[in-house]
Amino acid sequence: MDETKKGDGQMKRIALLATIGLSAGQVAAQTVVTQWDQFSQAGITAAGPAMDELIKTCAPALGGAEVLRTVAPSIGIRDSYRLAVAAGKTPDLAYTWPAASVLAGYARIGALAPLDDYYAKYGWKHVNDFYRGRNSYEGHIYGLPMEQDLMGVYYNKALFEEQGIKVPTTYDEFVAAANAFKEAGIVPIAFGNRDRWPATNTFSLILGLTAGKQTEEQVFFGDTPWTNEQFLKSATVFQDWANNGWFPRGFNGVGYDEANALFLSGRAAMTITGTWVIQDMIRGSGKIDLGVFMLPPIAEDIKPGTMWGEGSQWQLSATADQATKDAAAAYLDCLVSDDSRKIWVQKGYTVPIGTTPEELSEWGADPVVHSFFEQGLATPDTNFYDLHTTLPESVTQVLYPELQRLAGGDTTPEEFLQAMQTAWETAIANGERWVP
């Protein structure tokens, strides 16, 4: 064999090995942050366009690390995440729901990394004590809540004008409006509960406006039983809404999306739901003139307020290595920065916690978004809890069917509350209760 050719061949082999070695070294040095989130392009939490843009915008904050992203459906992500935790495959960074009891459960078994040091480093002062509490367990904070969820009443302005009905400012006016729509053959409230969870939001709103935040806290964090008088009144009000014929026929067989479609088609005057679907409401409101108001207090001694929550929160896996956690925290700091909040609002119709109505105006938010948040954020001291993002899962899975039975007239308010109290006592005995 020719020596020169032999030498060339060896050189090529060395060069190839060197290249492979270099590449392998680069790959090994590359920190990868696995990210699970729920930001899709349509439906609930349709903030996908904002997330897509922010991944690029915030790439420099990662310090050379790379994000490996998985999008999971917004409702199902909590089940997927639970399985991942159980299997010891917790993603490095996840944006999932709910916080409170469920997040505390993950923290209790050591699946999540405490974020206290990152809170100290980056500030994140926009997260107030209420939200910090909902993301804490035994004095440590485990979540960075981002999305601001509020509950309100979407209404069809044209139908209100046609029927000569003004936006209700008292509960009596609300009752009169609903009855007037029913008399006129218009569905007063587009409510569908086949998916089981929507009633939880509606009932949470009624509960807060009937029993008030203080009574809720006495039950959730104290010793007051579910069978108390104020809760009984709330359950009775919810059942009355159904008995009054304010919901569409067969509402327990109507899907959440179908109920929203019923409203957006102009066949229902109102729908009571949250900001998590505001993207779809705005996009689908071609046939109606969309407005929003806050449900007035139901009990006389209750101050105005609404159900609010963090929607979902970012959390880090305890098993991620330090470099990954540091990179993810820096990336999170970028995602919740002032510049990024503007992108969430403009591209995702999602309003991050800490965003003010003035900022919404300045950033050109849709008028419906602005109106919703201006009203909902005006009562921060009296805003109250969302049941299924606050209660342990075992209680939530009793709440869902029992609310279907309550609304369907298959159980009494007293029986409903007794069933809740039984589930609640079991959850407390099992150490599942979250206390901020």
């Binding site: 639970r82 993950y106 078994i109 327990n252 029992e402 039975r405 298959d410």
Partner: protein, 286 residues
């Protein structure tokens, strides 16, 4: 001549697969049922404590009752309809038999998830075809929110189950009827027996094995089904359509109570295995 050892070598691949994918997972689930779990992580050995919870679990008993109702209804309607239809069909021309058997069998080929979606539309209380049809015929007062009322939900879903199953019964019965010796019917004709007498005294008795097979198959399927319920009602309204499989799913995936979900799975497994054993015993004892 091969030794028994050679036979074991041939059995080994299938046996290994069976152990890996059936026996070991079953043993694992049985093992899980003796432990408490926290957030999906193994906590501590609790003996039979998880099993003791069955007695006070009202949802479990409701689910079991619904499964039993489902078994009875499935045995009553699809089998009966399949038997009658196949007996009538068997006397028609071969082309007609083939065409109608294929048409009856179509629902069986539709995945239950798709069947659930289709029938969810039919039963929908706002735009459902069934209520629309009733109103068009002036029978609007008989309309219901079929899947949304506790009184109608389980029965309405069973209709869907029957719709997907009766075509299978027709095909099985038809094949069995066609294997009956025609001379039996010819002799009955000579004796002046009518269609009813031939059906009662020849067809039904000679289809005993097929009936037994279909009955036990239906009973086992009725214990196992899940998808139809999940895409239509998720066990609701309330617990009206809760069955064992949906209770297992919720306990495992939604509550994360793996120990108790394992107990429910073990109970379900015992029921299904008992039915399967009964099936083998009855069919072999013939």
């Amino acid at each position: 001549m091969h030794s028994p050892r050679t036979a074991y070598w041939f059995l080994a691949p299938a046996l290994i697969l069976y152990l890996a994918f059936v026996a070991v997972p079953i043993a694992q689930v049985v093992g899980y049922s003796f432990f408490s779990w926290d957030g999906g992580r193994l906590d501590q050995f609790v003996g039979l404590a998880n099993f003791a919870r069955l007695g006070s679990d009202t949802v479990f008993w409701a689910a079991l009752w619904h499964n039993a109702i489902w078994v009875v209804l499935t045995l009553a309607f699809p089998l009966l309809a399949g038997l009658l239809l196949s007996a009538i069909l068997a006397e028609r021309r071969p082309n007609t038999v083939r065409a109608l058997a294929a048409i009856y069998f179509i629902p069986r080929t539709i995945p239950l998830v798709v069947a659930g979606i289709i029938w969810g539309w039919i039963y929908n209380p706002i735009f459902g075809l069934l209520n629309y049809g009733l109103e068009a015929m002036g029978l609007g007062q008989f309309g219901h929110a079929w899947l949304a009322e506790e009184s109608t939900a389980l029965l309405s879903l069973n209709v869907v189950g029957a719709w997907t199953f009766f075509g299978f019964c027709v095909v099985i019965y038809l094949a069995a009827i066609q294997s009956i010796d025609p001379s039996l019917y010819e002799a009955a004709d000579i004796d002046g027996a009518g269609w009813g007498a031939k059906f009662r005294d020849i067809t039904v008795p000679l289809l005993r094995n097929s009936t037994l097979f279909l009955g036990l198959y239906a009973a086992i399927e009725a214990m196992r089904f899940f998808d139809l319920i999940w895409v239509t009602t998720q066990g609701g309204p309330g617990y009206a359509t809760e069955v064992l499989t949906t209770h297992v799913y919720k306990t495992f995936f939604l509550v994360g109570d793996f120990g108790y979900a394992a107990v429910l799975s073990v109970v379900l497994l015992i029921i299904v295995l008992s039915l399967a054993s009964l099936s083998f015993w009855l069919l072999r004892s013939k």
